[in-house]
């Protein structure tokens, strides 16, 4: 059952990424580029995702455990440390350079586009580097 839930969760999120056009780097760059043609669509993507998720989260988080698992797995770390701050800045720079964050890039893998595949290969290398060289 956890396998099916995980697949459906990924499927719905990715369908949302595709339908909202977050899968199109130009669309994302239209939001990140502050000029006369600024496209605020991504704000509505974030706002509606936050509205749905936060409502469900706060209604359900009072329970002892999830429906199909023994416990919740929530990040416990609290401090605003160097890896969080520097990592987020570097991630944003990469996002602003091409318009891909991890979800849309992975969702676009079936396009077979050389640009998408190269981005994903470099992202995987980046994940490997971040694990081998913690800061």
């Amino acid at each position: 059952m956890p396998i099916i839930i995980a697949f459906v969760a990924g499927l719905l999120m990715s369908a949302g990424i595709a339908y909202s056009q977050m899968i199109v780097p130009e669309k994302v760059l239209g939001f990140l580029t502050l000029n006369a043609n600024w496209d605020p669509s991504l704000i509505l993507v974030m706002a509606s995702a936050l509205a749905v998720y936060s409502t469900g989260y706060w209604l359900f988080a009072k329970k002892d455990k999830p429906l199909f698992a023994g416990q919740f797995h929530l990040p416990g770390k609290k401090e605003l440390d160097k890896p969080l701050l520097l990592g987020s800045l570097l991630f944003g720079a990469g996002w602003g350079l091409v318009g891909y964050c991890p979800g849309p890039a992975l969702a676009a893998i079936s396009s077979g586009s050389s640009g998408t595949l190269a981005f994903i290969a470099c992202m995987l290398l980046g994940w490997f580097i971040s694990r081998k060289l913690p800061i």
């Binding site: 995980a6 459906v8 949302g16 990469g94 996002w95 190269a118 470099c122 980046g126």
Partner: protein, 134 residues
């Protein structure tokens, strides 16, 4: 604002929130795409559900294409920018423990100070780079 697409943005965003919520309610997990994908690759523990989640991510556009008749999307050309951006996104989300989904949606909804800080930083940094370069 000529490219503004409020309808697809609201429907798509709601689907993203719903998918992430399913994973929390049923499995008690945070739907962070970068964390799930990198752990599926580099960690043995819990690999099967993570691979199933990534399979769903890959299948999403195929589902939309089957339902929405005129659905298509563009992809970036292969360039040095794509190489550099992929490395930055990988290293950055690795060190920063999350991306737009894990920090931006799940973490901000949980009112996590780390996720709110991360989201402000990657939004500002993304806007700065995109605006300077275009």
């Amino acid at each position: 604002m000529e490219h503004f697409t409020p309808f697809t943005a609201l429907v798509g965003g709601s689907l993203i929130g719903l998918g992430a919520l399913l994973l929390f309610i049923f499995s008690g997990r945070i739907a962070g795409i970068s964390g799930i994908a990198s752990s599926a690759l580099f960690s043995q523990e819990g690999r099967s559900w993570r691979l199933a989640f990534i399979a769903g991510i890959i299948a999403g556009p195929l589902l939309v294409g089957a339902i929405v008749s005129d659905f298509s999307y563009s992809t970036p050309q292969l360039s040095w920018q794509v190489i550099v951006a992929g490395l930055l996104v990988g290293i950055g989300t690795g060190w920063g423990s999350g991306c737009t989904s894990g920090h931006g949606i799940c973490g901000v909804s949980r009112l996590s100070p780390r996720s709110i800080t991360a989201t402000v930083l990657f939004m500002l940094s993304g806007m700065l780079i995109a605006t300077l370069l275009r």
